[in-house]
Symmetry: C2
Subunit: 131 residues, 2 copies
């Protein structure tokens, strides 16, 4: 799924959080597998990001629809996305109810970086370069 | 302080998280006051954001140094920043140890929007407009 509510929580150990509504299909998947992958897209994937945010994987092959390639992860069961610049494989260490969402806290157990897509850098004056 | 690790956690009730190292002065302030304000800057405040991220408020007047204006918040003790586009006043409902940081979960009790600074919008093709 497209997860805007995804963030780092600790440097050592490397922990990441993802906050997902219980209504989402991804919530069920993570609850079963106890792992997830944070795939970081470049700006050229905006269309795919939108598709993955608008459709549910419950009855749709989102990889096919968004023209993304499923890739086996190295240390977790959840797949990675081959078109993304970075994939952070996480094992869930805690699941916590926060309001109408569940916060899954995951420890990064593997990271894969790929030299693809555009990189955006913000310079000293706040200008965005690389677009 | 400049907090990159700051994120929404729930829509109803409106909960926000901020993950702060125990070493930071802000950690002590929030632990005492049990509240915080998320001030969202425009890109023109990049210099001030950097200053507030590099200096500690323990022995420095960061408002003076970064040329920012302290403003009384309406429903919490922590001050707001008058130059920011939005200030979200939060009361801490939980503090939780996550690795080497503490995750403060705050419920938004007031929001102030100001018509200042540049707005950046990402269009259909991924282009950033308004810079």
């Amino acid at each position: 799924m497209t997860a805007a509510w995804c963030f780092p929580l600790s440097a050592d150990p490397p922990l990441f959080g993802v906050s997902i509504s219980r209504k989402r299909f991804s919530h069920n998947l993570i609850e079963k597998s106890k792992d997830f992958v944070i795939n970081i897209p470049g700006p050229e994937l905006l269309g795919a990001v939108r598709t993955c945010g608008e459709k549910t994987g419950k009855d749709t092959d989102k990889f096919g629809l968004a023209k993304l390639t499923k890739e086996h992860s190295e240390k977790v069961a959840a797949p990675s996305i081959a078109e993304c610049q970075t994939s952070i494989e996480c094992k869930v260490v805690e699941a916590k109810e926060t309001g109408d969402h569940v916060l899954f806290v995951g420890e990064a157990v593997n990271i894969k970086k790929r030299k693809i897509g555009k990189k955006i850098i913000q310079d000293e004056r706040g200008e965005l370069r690389g677009l």
